[in-house]
Point group: C2
Chain length 431, copies 2
């Protein structure tokens, strides 16, 4: 066999990283896999701007069908991102018998059902290692390394931008706005950062991890997603005094026959490994029935890091093609012991709560009385300042309580005339 | 194809874990890989003692050649440990055209050259995921997930027993002896714990990681190995005051055209992720030229955890056999830019040093004068007590110094008449 022909659609940051690796590591890869990976064609809307890698002009095209419809091409890499036209290109590529490598988490999370079933139907693979945690080989680890495991839980810090912002707020005491500005200045946040700070990007990634672990592809509307823009630095200071640190945590947990899937700002113990995941780093903390708790950690983004993952997918597919296997190397199997998603109202969690209440006798009794009425018991309570007849912060940590009860109790408490601004509640994850 | 036939040699703790998985996860594995894995025969010296999994008596044997010489068996799992007869069985299995799965780090580290080259010659694979970090898929990650990377460094906490002991010493202030006793009582240390506490087990694992990353299989005699039995709790307390924490660290580092490979008690910053790896947990912190720093973390031992890794190797080989590939899926390639090992005398490091010196004027001048003579500059110095004319601890942190110079300076200082017991020096790793 002369080699495996591949085509790249999307010659942007990650795309040019992939080209750079294929060029600079050509010999290393050849030696390792015994086959040449031949980059036959690159497609981009813009084929004139200089990239940080030089390529033969003849292989550049603006027409994706020069790749998708080329019978000599075995693998199509899609790195343009977004839903359309990426979806069209991937679908046509699969229909034409190509294997596909992509980093497009939004597309796979949203349109995965159609794409994955089409791949199966055409006996082709779609690989997406770069879509979660960039160069961290988390997808391969779940699919292959942990192949015999059933999964109990996934806890992930999956978005570098929001983790950078929360790290700055927590360590420097700056506001959300200030930290976001810094993230933008450093190139860690996009002009419109909403996908990152509202938890949508995290949700796309968690949807894919859940698919790999439990064999079910949920939609954005099925799961609870809460961003970080409402977090105040004051609460992070109080939480820190109680040994807690904040993270935008992606959580999937199997409890009996239900699965909880939720993304929200979460307080975790300061001495837990996940608490040391700072700045733009990502981590996945995963619990399998055989391996117990594993952590995978690394930079959550970066040109060469993501490109490294794309090339590892390419290499796997190359071996696959050489072997003449036309079935995904490892099928994703549904966990049939899961019967439903648990709604956010029904989860049980500990909570950090802050009320702004007038500093006068009897106020605490009123608040705790209402909490008690809703079966919420208090593990600790601290009044943070003393200012007679003024609003002062009262910070509480609850024992495990049902979300629905907590929300109702807080609503009732917020209507008391001794309470100032809106109360704050942040879930605590015991790990 | 009806299925892939396998034979297991060694029906001990991990072996019976493997049997349990193959039995209890039969359907899951079948669904994922599309093939049955058929456990055709189990060999052990003792086939009468009850295990925590029941098997058909007919498949038990005390004769390993019932497996090794059975033409119907495709894969042999070796889980008896030790050098002989494990080596003989593996070699005969390879010669008979079987693929091999093993967890035997000591054997592969010591006799790997012969075994790996024999496997290559016979076009068979030898897989050993369970040999490092139990269920952590570190070997697959290096070989496949990071396939396009060149490696800059590996830092590992690879032995649960010594990490448990150091964690207890550091957190509870107990002595090495007390911590070792506790480890024995809890079943974390063997009766003869020397392989663990002298760093040999860590060395075997590091040798395998270095082989995977750099394509060179070094011997125990090539590398520097220092155990933990001489560490005193007092030094851990002083180090902690300076923000440092102790770990038995396995270190491999590429510096220009040299490779440093060493295992020794090492002080690392308390706020580094590796510092949070407590008790019997393992972690591998690896730096690739494309992915930057990644961390893999999990329990370093455990029946089901190690068995999970063995089964993942089985599954990989099953796919391999189905495809009719008779070449290792991924060849290990030598890093030709490495020309030699750097001897321990030539490494450069920062050091923690403690002298017991008489508390009188001029002593510090003498010590620092000698250090200066050997080009060792001092970053900080603290005299820990005041007791006129008695021996008191003087603790120093040096800037980067060459090991040879440091050793000579310390030797000279130890001969001063103002110095009491043997000085202590512990290397500091800046991460």
């Amino acid at each position: 066999m002369k080699g495996i022909n591949i085509g790249l659609i999307g010659f942007g940051t990650v795309g040019s990283g992939v080209v750079k690796i294929l060029k600079e590591k050509k010999l290393l890869l050849k030696e390792k896999i015994g086959t040449n990976i031949i980059l036959k064609r690159i497609c981009d809307k813009d084929i004139h701007t200089k990239r940080n890698v030089s390529v033969d002009k003849d292989i550049l095209t603006t027409d994706p069908y020069k790749i998708i419809a080329d019978p000599q091409i075995d693998i199509v890499i899609e790195l343009i991102g977004g839903i359309q036209p990426a979806k069209e290109y991937i679908i046509e590529a699969l229909k034409n018998g190509k294997h596909v490598v992509t980093a497009n988490k939004a597309l796979l999370a949203q349109e995965g059902k159609e794409i994955f079933s089409l791949a199966k139907q055409h006996k082709r693979c779609i690989y997406f290692e770069a879509s979660v945690g960039a160069g961290i080989p988390i997808i391969k680890s779940i699919r292959e390394g942990l192949v015999a495991n059933r999964f109990l839980s996934i806890l992930g810090i999956l978005n570098g931008t929001s983790n950078f912002i929360l790290t700055r707020m927590s360590e420097e005491g700056c506001s959300f706005k200030e930290a976001l500005k810094e993230a933008k200045d450093k190139g860690y946040a996009e002009k419109d950062p909403s996908l990152d700070i509202e938890g949508i990007d995290t949700a796309h990634k968690l949807i894919l991890l859940v698919y790999l672990c439990y064999g079910k592809l949920f939609g954005l509307n099925d799961i609870y997603v809460e961003g970080i823009s409402h977090i105040s630095p004051q609460d992070l200071i109080y939480a820190k005094e109680m040994g807690l640190n904040i993270k935008l945590l992606a959580i999937a947990k199997k409890i009996k026959d239900e699965l909880e899937i939720r993304i929200h700002p979460t307080l975790i113990p300061q001495n837990h490994l996940l608490s040391s995941v700072r700045g733009i780093f990502n981590a996945i903390y995963i619990s399998g029935d055989l391996v117990n708790d594993l952590l995978f950690y690394g930079p959550g983004a970066g040109q060469m890091s993501a490109a490294s993952a794309v090339v590892s997918d390419l290499v796997d597919l190359t071996q696959h093609i050489k072997a003449g296997l036309f079935r995904p190397i490892m099928d994703i199997v549904e966990d049939n012991t899961i019967h439903r998603l648990r709604k956010i109202e029904n989860i049980e969690s500990r909570y950090y709560i802050r009320f702004m209440a007038i500093d006068k006798p009897g106020v605490l009794a009123k608040i705790s009385g209402l909490l008690g009425k809703y079966q919420i018991s208090i593990a600790s309570v601290t009044q943070k300042e003393r200012k007679k007849q003024k609003f002062v912060p009262i910070v509480m940590i609850t024992h495990e309580a049902r979300e629905k009860n907590l929300k109702e109790a807080i609503y009732k408490i917020s209507k008391l005339n001794v309470i100032g601004e809106e109360p704050v509640a942040i879930r605590i994850e015991e790990i």
